[in-house]
Symmetry: C2
Subunit: 233 residues, 2 copies
DNA sequence: ATTATCTATAGATCTATAGATAATGC
DNA sequence: ATTATCTATAGATCTATAGATAATGC
C-alpha cells in the first residue's frame, strides 16, 4: 500500500517540500530529534534524494533561516509617509510573535546552528543588528508621535536591546517554566507582548498611558501570578 | 605510557570527578558535542565505569543542576536584620552572573534536558519560581530601603520576570550576536548587569539615581553602540 | 542530455550492558 | 563481601555517498 506524504502540496518542488516539512518537524519535535532520515521518511522520499537537494541538515536550516529573516525584516518596516500610532505598536508585536511561533525551533539551541555553519553565524549576526536598529527606529517613531517620551540615545539602545532579549527569550521561558499540562500555543506565546509593554510603561506619555495599559491587559500571562504565588503548606 | 587525567584532584571520588569534568566539557564544547565516551576519556576511566556511577548523561546533567540550584538559591538570599543597600544590588547581580558563567551550558538547549527528564523539568520549574520570588523580594527590599520607587504588585511581578528573562538570555545573545573574534569571558557576560539596571532606571528614587547610573556605566556592553551603528557604505 | 530519484551500504558514532577482574573494608 | 573498575560488544542510529534507474525537457 502506498502512503502519501501529508506535508506540502504534491505539485510543490521537492526542494521546497523538504524545507517546509523540515520546519514542521523541527518545530514539533525539536531539531535535535529530527534526522535527515526522519525528514525523508515524513516526505515519503529516499534519504538519497534529500541529499541530492541539500548537502546536509545545516544547509536546510540555513535555508529556513533565510525565509525567517525575510519575514521579520518585512514585519519591522516603518510605515511610509505617516506617523506611528498606538495600533502600530501592537501590530508590530503581534507580527513578530507570529513569526517567532512559525519558526520557533530556530531560537532553541541557535548557538549550535551558528557553530556548525559560519555563514549562518555571519547572517544571523547581521540579522540581529538589523532588528535592533529597526526596534530603535520604531521606538524613535513612537517618540516622534508623542506616544513615548524622548530618551537619550544610550537609553534608547539599551531599551531596544531589552526588547529584543525579552522577545527572543519568551518562548524558552514558557517552555521551561510551564507545567507539562499547559499546552503551548501561539496565543500563549503572545503573552510575551505583555512583558514588552512593561518595559515601556515608565516612558509612556500620560495621555496614552491608560489606553496602552488597557490593551496590555489583553496579554496578561495566565501564569504570571501563579509563578509568584508563595508555596503553600 | 600512562596519561593521567587533567581534571579533578586524584583523591576526589570518581562520581564527583565525573560531575566536575562533565561540567567543564559541557561548558567548553557544548553538551551536544560531548558524549559519555568523551567524558570517560577525559577522565581516563572506562565508559563502563562511568555507567556504574550514572545511569546516563541525563542523570549527570540532573546532578549538575542540583549544584547550580543550591548555588543560586544561596546567592539570592536577603540579608538578615538590615535594610538593602545599593551595593547589594550589584553584589546580587555579580553573584548571579558568576553562577551563570560557571554553569553556562545549562541554559543552552535547556528545553532538551527538561524534555528528556521529567524530574528535572519539575525541579527546574520550582527553581524558576523560587528565583522569581527572590527577585521580587529583592526589588521589594530595595523599595523598602528607599532606593527604588514602590510599584503595584503586578508591575513588580512583571518587572521581576523581565529581570529573569534578561539575565537568562544574555549569554545566548552574546554568543549569537558577537563576531567570532570576540572572546567570550566572564567579564563580557557581566555586561548583562548593564541591561538589568536599565530595566530599573525609571524606578530609581532621585537621590540614588546618579550613583547607580555611574556604577551602571562600569558594565556598558562594549558592543552596544556598534550593534546599533548603521551599516557603512 | 539533464535532472530527479531510488537502492544499498560504508563508516562512524553512541548508549548501555554483561561478565570478568581488581581493590577495599570489615 | 562489597564496591569499583575494565574489556568487549550488541544494537541502534545517523550521515553521506556511489551507482543504477527513472522521468523530463529539448
Amino acid at each position: 500500500m502506498r502512503v502519501f506524504a501529508v506535508t506540502g502540496p504534491r505539485n510543490m518542488k521537492t526542494r521546497d517540500r523538504i524545507i517546509l516539512t523540515s520546519l514542521e518537524l523541527f518545530n514539533e519535535q525539536g531539531e535535535r530529534n529530527v534526522s535527515t532520515n526522519h525528514i525523508a521518511a515524513a516526505l515519503g522520499i529516499s534519504p538519497g534524494n534529500l541529499y541530492y537537494h541539500f548537502r546536509n541538515k545545516t544547509d536546510i536550516i540555513h535555508e529556513i533561516f533565510r525565509h525567517y529573516q525575510l519575514l521579520v525584516d518585512h514585519y519591522l518596516q516603518l510605515p511610509e509617509g505617516r506617523a506611528l500610532q498606538v495600533d502600530d505598536e501592537f501590530d508590530y508585536l503581534e507580527a513578530v510573535f507570529d513569526g517567532l511561533w512559525s519558526y520557533r525551533f530556530l531560537h532553541r539551541d541557535l548557538e549550535h546552528y551558528l557553530e556548525s555553519d559560519p555563514r549562518l553565524k555571519a547572517d544571523y549576526r547581521a540579522f540581529t543588528q538589523r532588528c535592533l536598529r529597526a526596534i530603535c527606529r520604531i521606538l524613535d517613531g513612537l517618540a516622534d508621535a508623542g506616544i513615548l517620551m524622548r530618551m537619550s540615545q544610550e537609553q534608547l539602545e539599551s531599551m531596544s536591546l531589552n526588547v529584543w532579549l525579552v522577545v527572543t527569550s519568551w518562548m524558552a521561558f514558557l517552555k521551561t517554566s510551564q507545567a507539562e499540562a499547559d499546552v503551548l500555543c501561539k496565543e500563549r506565546l503572545k503573552e510575551g507582548i505583555y512583558q514588552v509593554i512593561t518595559l515601556q510603561l515608565p516612558y509612556l506619555q500620560p495621555e496614552y498611558r491608560d489606553i496602552i495599559l488597557a490593551r496590555q491587559q489583553a496579554y496578561l500571562p495566565a501564569s504570571l501570578h501563579s509563578m509568584f504565588a508563595h508555596a503553600r503548606g
